[in-house]
Structure formats: structure tokens, C-alpha cells
Symmetry: C3
Subunit: 347 residues, 3 copies
């Protein structure tokens, strides 16, 4: 189920200067019908220079126009869009060139729709979807094929679920969200009470998942429903693929989390945080606003104040690593030996 054009529409450089809020230098009527990296661009393509690394290609590029920061603009004589945030300008240009498909009201005959489902205007429901009782699909929602909504789910205006997405009962998705294939929202949180006989007693998970507006959720990412109350993902949050968000976790607005990260239950992450890939954060912690956690870090205590936090040791050649890693297990001993030496020297 396509949600954007597979091929760009044609725009003039003048139109693109408006879309990207850039200063136009050169031919306003230059037709742009594609976007490409500066070393691969051809006639009709718009390209961009994000940083100095690609500057050398300016003399050889075949691009019809280039997005450049002011400091590089004078060094290029061809058509250009001058913008001091060329990456953002590029983002706006791609969005303009590959606009979303017009949404047509359509419900595939193979869709299975429960009772009391409210469906807004221009809603698209693809083949083999299953929608539970009492769901609400607001205007311009698009459900991809094979998506499954439990009972009483709400999907907000203009939100898109790609293929094979699963929403548990009473999940609430805000407006303009994009949920990629295989994501599972609202599976049971992982809660079990230990019993004296060594068996686990399941804590029935009666909460739900509440997703804000403008949230993107990656493929095969899982966000569990709360034990009681709601697991909450704030407005503007961006989640990559294969992420685990445990029950009752709270993710603050505009926080961005890279792939394979795991956020355990009841942890509260602040606003505008950046969490790297494969980071693991233990449960019941608080991460302050504006915290950056670099990739592959292990977080077992709350992180305050704002700042950059890290752990992990990068790969070394195996021979060196073996020696150092073996020594690590004697590190406490080494500290004691050094303390001892210090005593001897002082005495």
C-alpha cells in the first residue's frame, strides 16, 4: 500500500525554492524531476551538499541544481538553492517531489470489520485487514494490508498503518502517525508474580498504549500495553525498527530512538532525548529531558541532568581484546595492589 509517489512529480526550481524556503540563484524555470547524491545526479536532478566532504564534486556534478549553504554558494556557478540548513532544505525538497498519494475512500471487500466501527472521510482500508468492535478510524486514515486492530482502537486523522501491523485492544494512535510493517502495539506487558512453587502467575495486563501525534514507529517494533493505565509515546517521537518499549514506559515528546533499543517497563524518558541503537535501559528509571545516550550503552540508573551519556568499549583486534578483557576480571585486585604500592612509597 503505497503512501507516497514512487516517482517524483516535476517542479520548477522556483517552486522548490518556496517549498524549501531557500534563496534561488540561477534559472527559476529549471525543471526538477528527481533527487540524487551529488556524485550520481544527472540532468533533471536536484542535489545537495550537507557538509564539506562532497564539495569537490561541485566541479563535476551533472545535477541541474544544488542546495548549498551560503558559505559554499559563491564557489558554484550553476543553479542553486541557498540555504544554511541544507539538510532540512533537502528534506523539504524530497517531500515536495514525492508527495503523498491522494487518499481515496476505499474499503477492500476482504476487510473484516467489527460492530460499531466509526469510519471517517476518505479512509482507506486495504485487503485482509481485520478491525475489532468499537474502533474509530478518523478522516484520511490508511490501513495497510493484513493490519489487525483489536477492539475499541482509535486511529487518528491521516495516520498510516503499513502492512501486518497489530494493535491490541484499546490502543490509541494520534494524528499523522506512520507505523511500519510488523509493528505490534498493545501486546501484553511482561508481568508475572512469583509463587512459592516456583511457577509464575500472570499479571493480567489491563492498560493500553497511547501514541501521540506525528509519531513514527519502525518495522517490527513492539510497544506493550500497560499493566494498569497507559504506556505513552509523546507527540513527535520517532522510533526505529525492532525496538522494545516495555509496559508503562513513557517516552517524552520529540525523543528519537534508534533500532534495536530496549526500554524496560515503567521507565520514563524525557523530551528531545536521543537514544542510540541497541541501547538497553532498565526499568523504573528516569531519563531527563535532552539526554543523549550513545549507541550500545547500558543504562541501569536514572540519568540527570541533560547531557551525553555512554558506555561500551569498541571492538579491538581479537588478540588485544582477549588480553584486556581477561585483565578486567582482576581490575579490583589491581586497584588494591596500586593502593598498596602507594602506601609503601609514602612510608
Amino acid at each position: 500500500m503505497a503512501y507516497q509517489q514512487n516517482r517524483p512529480i516535476k517542479l520548477t526550481l522556483s517552486e522548490l525554492s518556496e517549498f524549501t524556503d531557500s534563496e534561488l540563484r540561477g534559472d527559476p524555470d529549471c525543471k526538477i524531476s528527481g533527487i540524487a547524491a551529488i556524485d550520481q545526479a544527472g540532468a533533471g536532478d536536484l542535489s545537495f551538499i550537507h557538509d564539506g566532504r562532497y564539495q569537490s564534486f561541485l566541479s563535476t556534478t551533472q545535477a541541474s541544481a544544488i542546495i548549498l549553504p551560503t558559505k559554499l554558494a559563491d564557489s558554484y556557478s550553476g543553479n542553486q538553492l541557498v540555504n544554511d540548513d541544507p539538510y532540512l532544505a533537502y528534506a523539504r525538497a524530497v517531500a515536495a517531489l514525492f508527495p503523498p498519494h491522494e487518499v481515496l475512500a476505499f474499503i477492500h471487500p476482504t476487510a473484516v470489520i467489527g460492530e460499531d466501527v466509526a469510519i471517517g472521510q476518505d479512509v482507506y482500508v486495504a485487503a485482509h485487514t481485520v478491525i475489532g468492535n468499537g474502533c474509530e478510524l478518523e478522516d484520511r486514515v490508511r490501513l495497510g494490508p493484513g493490519s489487525i486492530l483489536g477492539d475499541e482502537c482509535v486511529v487518528g486523522e491521516a495516520s498510516i498503518l503499513k502492512g501486518n501491523v497489530s494493535l491490541g485492544d484499546r490502543s490509541r494512535v494520534g494524528k499523522r502517525c506512520l507505523i511500519h510493517s510488523g509493528a505490534v502495539l498493545g501486546a501484553d506487558g511482561f508481568g508475572f508474580a512469583p509463587q512459592k512453587n516456583g511457577k509464575w502467575y500472570k499479571i493480567t495486563q489491563i492498560g493500553n498504549v497511547v501514541i501521540g501525534n506525528d509519531v513514527e514507529i519502525g518495522a517490527n517494533t513492539c510497544i506493550d500495553r500497560a499493566a494498569i493505565g497507559s504506556t505513552r509515546v509523546g507527540d513527535g517521537v520517532k522510533l526505529d525498527n525492532l525496538i522494545q518499549i516495555g509496559h508503562n514506559a513513557q517516552i517524552g515528546e520529540d525523543t528519537i530512538i534508534a533500532a534495536n533499543a530496549a526500554i524496560a517497563g515503567s521507565t520514563k524518558i524525557g523530551r528531545r532525548c536521543r537514544v542510540g541503537g541497541a541501547v538497553a535501559i532498565a526499568g523504573h528509571l528516569e531519563i531527563a529531558d535532552d539526554v543523549v545516550i550513545t549507541g550500545f550503552s547500558m543504562v541501569t540508573h536514572s540519568l540527570r541532568p541533560a547531557g551525553v551519556y555512554s558506555s561500551g568499549i569498541t571492538a579491538d583486534d581479537n588478540r588485544s581484546w582477549r588480553k584486556n578483557a581477561a585483565r578486567f576480571r582482576k581490575l579490583d585486585d589491581l586497584f588494591r595492589r596500586v593502593m598498596n604500592i602507594e602506601k609503601i612509597i609514602k612510608s
Copy 2:
């Protein structure tokens, strides 16, 4: 496909004291119609205090009744259920208030069912399921929408597959299991023989997956079929989301594994183990019964005897981390220097 009530049934405090095996203090006829955290509970809600942290809310809570341990019971004058395992009592209370839906025999007309499929009593098969030849669904099984069973699968009595679950050929699921959306059981194990030309030759995986009784399997978790024989998950095992269980692994009874953990092939984990989130365990190892592995640990050798095992260094501020991590790569060198100093001092 709901499997429990979305809204609680009403119970009296007297009924709940029986369900939870607790001592009732207060009004036995008090009607309970919900459950909530102590600081958020209102009239009709049951709440609980699991540990001392929330004790201060006892004076202000609006809950109609509270589950309390004996040592706190006297400090509260309202309705209460006294139980020295308040967490387990809470678990039992939620289960009583949100009982499973009655299972009705139903096969959705869009379900595609192969030949020679045996279907027990009161089996529910949701829309867009696909069931291979020779499968057996025991009494009260529920298959959620979009679930796919290969040939000759067995799903035991009262087990539930949520949406978009995939079972490979000859997978066997025990009784009373709960498998969450997107889980994949019985995909091929990862086995390839190296060839002289640098290409890999696939080892055809002819084994299967065998899941015991009372097992819960999280969303998007993968359990591969064995190369030969069976990958086995024992009775009472609880697996969180996004876990990898490699081919021929064996997970002992009542072991619990948190999200994003990876258990490589042929590793045997004992009974009643607790494996933290994002733990990685190499292949062909043995983990003894009653081993606890804390989150984000790397396990490359067998772990015996029972006990708690850990690795990983928790995140530090980036500046300190950079310095320490750089030093790590000279750790062996440091040990040698200290040894040298010790020699000098002794001499």
C-alpha cells in the same frame, strides 16, 4: 481478537478475598469495579501496596479497598484485603476482575483450512488465518487474525495465538499457552556449511519447535526449528518480546527471559532461571538451574552453579567514559607496569 474482558466485572470485597486468599477487613459487600494505582484510584477501585514506597498515599487514597501486607494493615482504617504477598494477591484480583471471554466455537469464513485438520470443541478461528494440512487444534484453542500454521502443527487445549503469529511445519504448542502477535515459531535454524569457494551451503533444517504447557511468548519473538530433533521450551516458561531462541536450544521449566535477549543455537538453559533484557548467550552452552543473569550481560561460557551472573558497565557521562574506555585498551599493559613496579619495590 480479545481474550479477556476489556472492562472489569463487578465483584464484592468478600468475593475478592476468596479469589486472592486474603483476610478481609471492612465491608464484605463493598463493590469493586476496577483496579488502579493507589495514587490514582477512585471510588469502586481496588488498589494495593506492594512495598513501602507508596505507603504515604494511604492517608489520601480514594480507593474503595486496598490490598496490604500484615505489617501495614493496622495503619489503615479503610476496607482492606490483608495478604503478605500483596503482589500475588493483586495478580489474582486483576485476573478475577478481568476474566477471559467465554470461548465460542467459531470459524471465520475467511479462514483457509487445509486437509485433515482436527478441530476440537469450542475452538475459535479468526479472520484470515491459514491452517496447513494435518494440523490439530485442541479444545478451546483461539487463533487470532492473520495467524498462519504450517502443516502438521498441534496447538494444545485452551492455547491462544494472537494476530499474525506464524508457526512452521510440525510446531507443537502445549496447553494454556499465550503467543503474542508477530511471534514466529519454527522458522529455519541458522545453519550453513562453509564451502571451499567461500559460499555457504544451507543445512536443511528438518527439526521442529516444541513448546510446553503454560508458556507465554512475546510479540515478534522468534524460536527456530531444530536442525535435527526439537528446539524445546519447557512448561511455564515466560518469554518477552523480540527474543531470539536459536535452533536446538532448550529452555528449562519456569525460566523467564526479558525482551531482546538472544539465545544462540544448542544452548541449554536450566529451570527457574531469570535472564535479563538484551542478554546475549552464545551457542552450545549450559546454564544451570536457578541462574540469574542480569540485563545486558554477555555470556560466552557455561554458567554453574546457581547464582547471579553479570557483565556490562553502566553508562557514565560521555567525557569520563571516553577517558576510561580509551584506557581499557591499555589495561593489559597497565597490569604489566604494576607488576614491574611491584618487583622494583620488593627488590
Copy 3:
């Protein structure tokens, strides 16, 4: 949707010696109708000894024939296939005993097929699949139930998609590939431009995913489409389950990656690399050909030349670990103290 026989066909030892390119010793007409581990094999089974560990079972095994390396062949008097690469010979024998099902041209009536879809000969399309406009399925392709292809996808000759696989628009899969259930190819890459207001602006991802020939992709693995251009997985690559491949990454031919690994965007991995489970590789790096990265390593810089690279510290008993891990955070300080001692001693 089975793709290989669930039960072995019968072959003579003579036939198997041809399939496995082994020297036959014993009865050429011995009928083989199964394959099993040496300590579990019975009459009719073929078994194998891969290394010395299982040699002791030679005197007691009930197997009808055994694959053995030359050095062990003389110590066994029963039927045998002598091959100095017994693991590869075993792989060939299993493949011969469990051949793929004959592919029959079949399109299930519940399949939903878009416009201008080209379907080759002997293509099998299972129930509840959804195929977008302009797709091309080459000869002998098999699409498992619930699989979803976006627009303009190409699936090459004899490739198999198992159940609930999702391909984004314009994904291209080569010949003889095997993609396991729940895999998602061609979801959007994770690209957002920061804005001054703290919000993220989505970089529309206009690229695609291109998979070579003879590639295997594990269950619930995600390979994102490129921002511009293609994310590429080379011929003969083998990917395990729950792997993340970021946008614009390039995976070289015959590289093998174990479960739960995460390869961030724009990283280029060479040919014939072996990447262990749960490895995390940062973005924009280059990994040389023939690099081996051991499991759970963190890779934050390019790795050259070929060789084995590692990081991570294996789990220790919790008490020792606590002491050593605490010391780690004072490691830089320790180096300074030792330097100071060295100065004092020298002076």
C-alpha cells in the same frame, strides 16, 4: 506453506554417496530413510561425526550408516560415507533426503493481486497474500500466506517468501532467495532532519532494497529502503533473525550475520565477513572483506584489515563483577596514579 518435504524420501547409500561426493564403504543398497544425531539414530538413519567429540558413540550407534572423515573411517566397521568435510557432506545428504516440494502453479482465490502484475511459470501464491501493482514474480516463485508486496516489486526465479513477509515498494529480491516469516524489507529508513523548534522533519525515503541471489533472510529481520538509491544485500548473504539493516547499508557477497545484530545506515560490510549475534555496528563505517566480528561486539569505527575483532566482557559472578565494574569508572584515574608511582620510583 511447506517448501521442503516434512518426511525424508528413501535413498540408497550408493545414491547418497553420489549426492555427498563421498567414498562409499559397506552396502551400497542400504536404504536410508532418515537422518539423526549419532547417539539418537536408529535403523534406517544416516548419521555423521563432525568432530572427535562424538567418536565414542561409534561403538554403540544404531545408525544404518555414518558420514566419517578419513581419519576415523578405519575405526568403524559399519556402512559409511567417507568424506573429509563431513559437515558439508551431512548438509548435502539432508538436502537430498528432504528435497523441496514440487512447485505447482497455483494462485489461491483469496490472493489480492494488483494491476499489471507479471507472473511466471509454476508460481505459487498462497492464501491472503497481497501483491501491489506492477510487480513481477519470476518462474517458480512461492509466496507464503499473508505476504504483502508493495508496488513494483520483483521476486526472482525460485525465491520463496514464507508467511507474513512484507516488501515495500520497488523491493527487488534475486533468485533462489529464502525469506522467513515476519521479515520486513523496504520499510522507510530512519532519517529525520532536526528543526529549530526541536521537532524532527521526516526525510522522505525514496530509495529501495535490492537483494542479490541465494540470500537467506531470517524471521522478523528488517532491511530498510535507502534514503536515495538502494540498500544492497549481496549474493549469497545469510542473515539470521531479528537483524536490523539500516538504510543505504551495503552487505557484501557471502557475508553471514547472526541474530539480533544491528547494522546502522550507510555502513558498508565487505565480502565473506562473519558478524556474530547481537553485534552493533554504527553508521557510515567500512568493514573490510573477510572480517570476523565476534558476538556482542560494539563497532564504532571502520575495521580494516581482514582479521578477527572483538569487544565485550563475559559475565562473571555478580559480586566480582560489581567490584570490577565500579573500578572501571576510575580507570583513567588509576592510570594517572600508576604514572605518578613510576615517576617517583624513577626519581
